[in-house]
Symmetry: C2
Subunit: 320 residues, 2 copies
DNA sequence: CTGAAAGCGCTAACAG
DNA sequence: CTGTTAGCGCTTTCAG
């Protein structure tokens, strides 16, 4: 290709990278030749030289989960806008894999976006050392050069509690997220707010998926709650489905609320009351934390209460 | 690090890559030193030398779409199992971006997995030339070294037609997918099957999302169909939601069927009759097409009819 | 403005 | 078994 245009490789490089002093005539010749041969520089060589791959890494517990899929979408789209690539890894909700994937990707990428709800703090710190730049989702770490974007889930739970209390509910079942997940603890903080003080909260082990929700309903019902707050909307959809099977009506017999406002939540029957957070915004914010000018501090994202028809005053007599 | 263990860089490389003749004593010393310093080889340098990045690229129209998210999950997980990384790009359903992303990633990766329903065949051919290895999802291209994994959607439509016909339906609205999408044409092939011969099909422009489905319902109803077949389950969920708003009961007044069997489809009310295809399997199959031993030919994936409660015999009198 | 040459970090080939 | 050396493809000095 350098041969084709009869110039040195250095000149080709100058033309293609742009903004270098090259005579217009030569520049054109090079561009034509490049087009002809379909020449594109080898990115590995560029990376080696520059010390930057123009790539960000995204590590999440489950790539199939729409919540993370949307975050990924937000990041990838921002990244693409500045000629960056996006490397991904799913970790199957396994702390060991969270660590391995993060460490592995860290070597490749300019910046790492990590959602690792279960990784231990020391290991997280190791990752922070290994990565050029690290941004955490829904988790914080005291460490220079580590930024965080966290959703203030305790405010969400608080808002849901206030909403349910104002409807007259007293006994609330909380379907917990994955054990030891940082963001579940955030949610639980909401139950210690003044808005929740008149409520009795029954904690039920659950998880983060539709199937988890479905499975946890029966245990939750043993507490005779008049409302359920679910770890997220997926769980809530599973709950609605199981309640329907049991012949209980929502919100007639029992109210159900989710968290996150998943796309489907506006279309369930009944429509799901939830705490809406914008995952696209989350992705965008996370991306911004990679740019040098932005502080490494923690960004707090607030959501808003979305009241649909899955919540209503409790029945006068408890069901059954 | 080589200094720390008092050996040459070549020896370090031999130890770390494994399977090379090194005395156990030295090997241990190197491993300890590497551990100490936290040394990890520079992947860009390795890539440059090897000519392979151990990376696959995945290009899909919408990273936020659960359908593609699951395919991505399947591929990423298979890739990780063999120490490969996964690079992604979403293309916002834009043919131009489909092309640019594909060409761009092709330079980086060992293999490219491409779902580009709208890209023109000549451009697709260009991508095939640029990529070391190319696998297409739901699309075929006559070209050596290009494999495909396609879902036989015409069989799905055929099965749905047979199912609806056997229930006594005659007037069916089909809510079309994105214009010019290859996989929509596949579906439409199903309407030319014998099973559909007794049916009158009304084609309604729609799209691939929940919101598209919601919006297309009113036009579809002008044909007074007794059943609707939707491009995919997302559309169907949007349809269910709009029909509910209109006060029409499913399946009492009208039957609705989807395609794909999205995770949520078992949990809608009523449960959605659909044609189930395994996206995980799709991802896995796609991955297998990257391994040299596997032929580049097209793999056909079949789904199966899943009958839930959104389909039933038509009402005796048409609604309204 | 352009070419020659060094070197990014690594591993394969070649000596020893 | 181990060290030395060349070179992967590019960009960036440094000369001219």
């Amino acid at each position: 290709m350098a041969r084709l245009a009869e110039v040195s490789t250095a000149t080709v490089s100058r033309v293609l990278s742009g903004g270098k002093p090259v005579s217009p005539e030569v520049a054109d010749r090079v561009r034509v030749a490049a087009q002809d041969v379909g020449y594109r520089p080898n990115p590995a060589a560029q990376t080696l030289l520059r010390g930057s791959s123009r790539t960000v890494g995204v590590v999440v517990p489950d790539l199939g989960n729409p919540y993370f899929a949307e975050i990924l979408k937000g990041v990838a789209s921002e990244a693409a806008a500045t000629e960056h690539h996006t490397l991904v890894a799913g970790t199957d909700e396994d702390p060991e894999q969270e660590y391995r994937s993060a460490i592995e990707l860290a070597r490749w990428v300019d910046g790492l976006l990590l959602c690792a709800p279960r990784m231990s703090t020391p290991r997280l710190r190791e990752v922070a050392e290994a990565a050029r730049r690290l941004v955490l989702i829904n988790r914080v770490l005291r460490h220079s050069a580590v930024g965080s974007v966290v959703v203030d889930y305790h405010l969400g739970v608080r808002a849901l509690c206030e909403h349910l209390a104002s409807l007259g509910h007293k006994r609330i079942a909380y379907l917990q997220g994955p054990t030891a997940a940082w963001s579940d603890q955030q949610r639980q903080r909401g139950f210690r707010s003044p808005e929740a003080s008149g409520l009795t909260i029954f904690r039920v082990p659950c998880g983060s998926t539709l199937v988890d929700g479905q499975a946890a309903v029966d245990e939750a019902l043993t507490y005779k709650p008049t409302a359920m707050i679910c770890f997220n909307d997926h769980v809530a959809v599973g709950v609605l489905s199981r309640l329907r099977e049991l012949g209980l009506s929502v919100p007639g017999d029992i109210s159900v609320a989710g968290i996150d406002n998943a796309p489907m939540s506006a279309h369930t029957d009944p429509g799901l009351t939830t705490y809406a957070v914008s995952t696209i915004e989350l992705g965008r914010q996370a991306w911004e934390r990679f740019t040098p000018r932005v502080t490494t501090a923690t960004t707090h994202l607030q959501g808003e209460l979305v009241i649909r028809s899955s919540t209503a005053p409790p029945p006068h007599r408890p069901h059954r």
